[in-house]
Amino acid sequence: MSLPGQLSVLFPLASGLGASSPLAAVLPASDSALERLPLTLRGLLTGWLPASWQWLANSLIAIVVLIVAFASLFALLTLAERKILGRVQNRPGPNRAPLPFLNLRTYGLAQPVADGVKMLTKEDIVPDGADRVLHFLAPIALLAFSILTLAVIPYGRLLVALDLDASVLFFFAAGAATELAVFMAGWASRNKYSLLAAMRALAQLISYELPLLLSVVPVVLMAGSLSTSVIVERQGEWWLGFLPRWYVFTPWGLAGFLVFFVASLAESNRSPFDLPEAESELIAGHLTEYSGFKYALFFMAEYFGMCALCGMAVTLFLGGWQAPLPFLSFIPSYLWFAGKLLALLGVFMWIRASFPRLRIDQLTRLAWKFLVPLALINLGTTAFWSLTADWAGLLQPLRWLIAAGLIAGPFLLLGRNLSKGLGPRTYRYAA
């Protein structure tokens, strides 16, 4: 097989899916033009190239599209976060930055652009005695790893930049490396707060990588594949003809999703697990010594990581790009994916607006004493679920009941153990 041919297996999206492509047959005939729009557009762009060049052009396009799409999503998300936070706090948030040259107010839509312009033009400071190389590399590494994780998420039917057989593994490998970049930043800054933040980041990484991975294992087990595309395909069936068979709608899937969600909050350093960047304790944590565009890169990478984890959660548990109801399938799959992604991101922001931060020992305790056992038990539950796949009729509710009990019992027990000694108090009054 020629090299382009090999790669075309690796890059289904990248290998021209135009009308001329032999793979075009993979697409169901029912697909609307809207569903095919991204592919059509790409065909228009690269169709004129010789076939041996198309894979390269296509992958380049995929990369550019990914980066541009997520960079603009990042801009919107910063604004959305500030707006949502504002609304929760009974205020409007940024709403008056006018468009440049026009002096037109657009409900603050120009705000991220203004921030970007300012960040780009801000002086870049490297502290005396800092490790200049690492200080420079840290934001770049962080961004690079975050973008890598974005590559394996299926954004729509056949819309995946890199469809590896082991894409789930790839995702977590690349995702874990981001913490390395945080540690680099903390170490290189020559600042005590940064160093503390770096140590926290490492502790957090070690603690939360495990529940994150363990919560994914059941999905892999049930789907029988490490490929994200296959996992999404497997969730594409319907119960009783109309209920989606997403993994989150099973007892083990729900538990897995919750563990994954909490762990991904921690992985993306979001509140209530934003310990490395604990504003009220460590000034700005590992970012303390970063100014200007390096800081913006960090910020961007953090949001990319958040998007990637939410995208993975959607892919693994929420049916990926599948429509929630059969008759809604006419809406293009990538829109469904975007909708679910944004909803999850919204929950991230909602949580940020509501909760205080945990302490580092509580954070690790939550991981080791609650999430990890729960994920392990969930693995057993999944095994039970898998073994009883042929239970039917009256046994079916029994199967649900047992599985739910297998999750809820340990949840209550572990939860009680975790919150031992804590609780609401009653107070006495002086006589």
Binding site: I84, R87, V88, Q89, N90, R91, P92, W350, I351, A353, S354, F355, F411, L412, G415, R416, L418, S419
Partner: protein, 215 residues
């Protein structure tokens, strides 16, 4: 159960998020430059001097340059020089009346101690400046504001002050008339400082700071 408190908290924030779109209790922002707070009548920021005749803002200042406010001002931000004629006779009006609003602590003590109701508190607060030395030292010319302006800011208080001043004037006129009638002496100067007003009786509808005895 672990998590109920968290869910309760999420419910509160969600209620506020939704409420911010329809409930004015949960959307309290004032779009400042377009919408401004309705300042209460009592609001005080920096002092100004009241003049009675809009045509002659400097000549008709109520201030007689008695320097009570200057000495009582806690941060000492008032500077007064009394105007004198060529012979050095005091003219009972300020020649220099400067207030350094970069020092003023808006405490209103100058207003309280002024026996002539000459200095009152302004409510203008949009005074950000790029030059401290030229912008924030207010001179007599900048401080002088009309009685109508005073009425606009503090209507209740101003009405009471006007009534009081009118009463004093009437009393003074009566006293003068009484004096002038028996002995045809040359009339005493009509400036209010010659005859400091008695402490006003607390009036029911317009609570007023206690006026101390005249110097």
């Amino acid at each position: 159960m672990l998590g109920t408190g968290l869910l309760q908290g999420l419910a509160v924030t969600a209620k506020n998020l939704v409420g911010s779109f329809h409930d004015p209790e949960r959307y309290v922002t004032m779009e400042y430059p377009e919408v401004k707070t309705k300042l209460p009548e009592n609001y005080r920021n920096f002092p100004f001097l009241v003049h009675d005749d809009p045509k002659d803002p400097l000549g008709s200042l109520r201030c007689v340059a008695c320097t009570i406010c200057e000495t009582e001002c806690p941060p000492q931000c008032i500077y007064i020089v009394m105007d004198r004629d060529e012979k050095g006779k005091a003219l009972k009006r300020p020649k220099v009346f400067d207030i350094d609003i970069s020092v003023c602590m808006s405490c209103q003590i100058c207003v309280e101690v002024c026996p002539f109701d000459a200095i009152k508190m302004d409510q203008h607060y949009e005074i950000a400046e790029t030059n401290r030395f030229q912008g924030l030292l207010l001179s007599r010319e900048q401080l002088s504001k009309s009685n109508a302006y005073y009425h606009q800011l503090h209507p209740t208080e101003a009405a009471a002050v006007d009534a009081l001043l009118a009463e004093q004037k009437a009393k003074q006129a009566a006293a003068k008339a009484a004096k002038a009638a028996p002995a045809a002496k040359p009339p005493a100067p009509a400036a209010p400082a010659a005859n400091p007003p008695p402490p006003p009786a607390p009036s029911a509808e317009a609570p007023k700071p206690p006026t101390p005895p005249a110097p």
